[in-house]
C-alpha cells in the first residue's frame, strides 16, 4: 500500500523492523517485486545518480545554449566557498545534475527531471565526506521515496500542477528526511526536517524561461539542496516544525491550486515573463503560444 501520510510512516517506525526495510517490503509486495529486485532497482537509481555526476562534462552545453559549465565553475571555486568546501560541493553537485538534465543526458528523476539535482547534491558529498556504504545510501533513498510518495498522494509532484514547490520543494523535503536518516535521527526528526524544508519553499512558482528546464531550474536545485541541509540540521538539533508535516503538504497542495496558470510551467509568468526572459524566448523562437 502506498503511504498517504507521514503519520503512517511514524507509526511504522514503532515496529522493530528498520523503517527503510518496512517501506521496501510494503512497496515490493504491492508491486509484486521480490525484495532483492526492489533493492537492485533502488541501487540502480543510486548508481545512476553517481554516474551522472561522474560523467558530467564541463564542456557540454544545452541545445538552447543557455546552460552548461556552471557546475565546473563552482567546483573550481569550492575551496574558497563562504560556507566551506562541503557547502560548495553541494552547490556544485546540484548545478552539475541540473546541467546534465538540460543537456539531455541520463539522469534520475527525483521526483522530477527538473528537480533531479537536489537529492544527489546532498547525498553524493555526504557519502564522500563520511565514507558511508552504498548500502546505507540506498536505504536513505527508500526513506526519501516514501516521503515523496506521501507528498505525491496528498499534493502533487509536477510543476504544471503545483508550481516549483511541488518539484524542488518536494525534492528538498525528501532530501531533508534522507539526511536526517543518514545522521541517525529519529523518524520524527525526519518528519520535522521534511516539514521545515517544504514549508520554507512554499509558494515557489514554476516559471521556466522559454519553457525550457534550464532557467531558473538548474540554480533552483541549489536552493532545494540548501533547504534540505539546513532543515535536516535544524531537525537534528531538536528544532521542530510547528505545523506537522502532513498539514504542510496539504498547504502545499492548496497553494498550488491557488497559483495562476501563468506560474505553473506555461512559461508565461515569473522569470519567463521578464523582458529578458521574453527576449530569450523570442531569440530561440520558443515563445509561448
Amino acid at each position: 500500500m502506498a503511504f498517504t501520510s507521514i503519520e503512517q510512516l511514524e507509526a511504522l517506525a514503532a515496529q522493530p523492523t528498520p523503517l527503510w526495510r518496512a517501506i521496501m517490503t510494503a512497496d515490493a509486495r504491492e508491486q509484486g517485486l521480490s525484495e532483492e529486485e526492489s533493492l537492485r532497482r533502488m541501487n540502480g537509481m543510486w548508481q545512476a545518480m553517481r554516474s551522472a555526476s561522474r560523467d558530467y562534462s564541463a564542456a557540454a552545453r544545452s541545445s538552447s545554449g543557455l546552460s552548461g559549465g556552471d557546475g565546473q565553475r563552482m567546483l573550481d571555486y569550492a575551496a574558497c566557498g563562504i560556507g566551506g568546501e562541503f557547502f560548495s560541493q553541494v552547490i556544485a553537485e546540484a548545478l552539475k545534475m541540473g546541467e546534465c538534465n538540460a543537456c539531455m543526458k541520463r539522469i534520475v528523476a527525483a521526483p522530477t527531471a527538473g528537480s533531479c539535482g537536489v537529492l544527489p547534491a546532498v547525498l553524493i558529498p555526504f557519502q564522500q565526506k563520511h565514507g558511508t556504504q552504498d548500502e546505507t545510501m540506498v536505504h536513505a533513498l527508500y526513506l526519501a521515496a516514501a516521503f515523496g510518495q506521501v507528498i505525491a498522494s496528498r499534493a502533487c509532484i509536477a510543476g504544471a500542477e503545483g508550481g516549483c514547490q511541488a518539484e524542488v520543494g518536494a525534492a528538498a523535503g525528501m532530501a531533508a528526511a534522507a539526511l536526517v536518516f543518514l545522521k541517525g535521527g529519529t523518524v520524527s526528526a525526519m518528519a520535522h526536517a521534511c516539514a521545515i524544508a517544504l514549508g520554507n519553499l512554499l509558494g515557489l512558482v514554476c516559471d521556466p524561461v522559454a519553457g525550457l528546464v534550464e532557467v531558473p531550474c538548474i540554480k533552483r536545485n541549489v536552493i532545494g539542496a540548501m533547504a534540505a541541509l539546513s532543515s535536516a540540521d535544524m531537525a537534528l538539533a531538536g528544532i521542530t516544525s510547528r505545523i506537522p508535516a502532513d498539514e504542510v503538504i496539504d498547504a502545499m497542495r492548496e497553494v498550488g491550486d491557488a497559483l495562476p496558470a501563468s506560474l505553473r510551467e506555461t512559461g508565461r509568468g515569473g522569470l519567463a515573463a521578464t523582458p529578458t526572459g521574453q527576449k530569450i524566448a523570442r531569440q530561440l523562437n520558443l515563445e509561448p503560444k
Partner: protein
C-alpha cells in the same frame, strides 16, 4: 504511485513530464497500434502546447512511437530518425475540453492502413494516464498489463471476459466500464497483475458481441 515513480525513472532530460512521460505515451500508443506507425499526427494541449517544443515533447512522443524507452540516448534525434525511416510527422496545438494541462493527442497510421487515436496525459514524474482510445474513454496508466475490450452494450460480456481471466488464474487489479450510448458500444478496461497470454486475447476476440480487443503490456519487449 509506487516508490520508483517517485525516485525514477532513469531518463534522458530535460523534463520528466514533458520528455519521459511523453516518451511513455508514445510507447504505449505504439503498443496499442501493434506496429511502427508510418504516419504520425501530434496535437499538443495546455502546457504541452505552450512549452512542448522547448522541452522536446514532440521529439519525445516520436521517440516513444519509434519504440524508445525514456532512458534511450537517441531520444534527442528521434525526429531525424523518423525522417530517415520515411515516417511522416506533423505537430500542431489543440484545445481539448477539461483535459489535464500536459495532454497530447496522437493520431497514428500503420503500414497496413490501420489508424488509431490516443489521448494521453503526463501526470508528472514520468507517469502517464491514457485518457481515451479512438474517442472512447479509457483511463489506464500502462503500469499493468492492460486489456481494452470493446463490445456491444449488452448483458453478459463483462462476465464472459472476467470468467475467461479467472479460468486462466489472472488476477484483475482494476476494472472499468464505459459506454457511449445505451445499447451502443461499450468499453472495458482491465488492468491485470500478470501478463495475459496471447491465446486469451484471440479467444476473447472470437466471442460474439466483442468488437475489438486490444492488449498492452509496456514491460514486454
Amino acid at each position: 504511485m509506487n516508490l520508483f515513480d517517485i525516485l525514477g525513472p532513469i531518463m534522458v532530460g530535460p523534463s520528466s513530464s514533458h520528455t519521459a512521460g511523453a516518451v511513455r505515451i508514445g510507447y504505449i500508443t505504439r503498443k496499442l497500434l501493434r506496429a511502427e506507425p508510418v504516419e504520425i499526427t501530434i496535437k499538443l494541449h495546455g502546457s504541452f502546447a505552450a512549452t512542448g517544443t522547448g522541452h522536446g515533447t514532440d521529439r519525445a512522443l516520436v521517440a516513444g512511437l519509434l519504440g524508445m524507452r525514456p532512458d534511450d540516448m537517441q531520444i534527442p534525434s528521434s525526429l531525424e530518425i523518423a525522417r530517415s525511416k520515411g515516417i511522416s510527422v506533423s505537430c500542431s496545438t489543440v484545445k481539448l475540453r477539461d483535459a489535464h494541462p500536459n495532454t497530447a493527442m496522437l493520431q497514428v497510421k500503420s503500414a497496413d492502413g490501420r489508424s488509431l487515436e490516443v489521448v494521453g496525459a503526463s501526470l508528472g514524474g514520468g507517469r502517464v494516464r491514457i485518457e481515451s482510445v479512438d474517442g472512447l474513454e479509457a483511463n489506464f496508466s500502462g503500469e499493468y498489463p492492460t486489456l481494452i475490450v470493446r463490445n456491444t452494450d449488452q448483458p453478459g460480456h463483462v462476465a464472459e471476459v472476467t470468467t475467461t481471466l479467472a479460468q486462466l488464474k489472472l488476477n484483475i487489479a482494476t476494472l472499468q466500464l464505459y459506454r457511449d450510448t445505451r445499447g451502443g458500444s461499450a468499453v472495458m478496461v482491465i488492468e491485470c497483475d500478470t501478463p495475459i497470454p496471447s491465446q486469451a486475447v484471440t479467444w476473447l476476440e472470437s466471442l460474439p458481441g466483442i468488437l475489438k480487443v486490444t492488449y498492452v503490456n509496456v514491460e514486454e519487449a
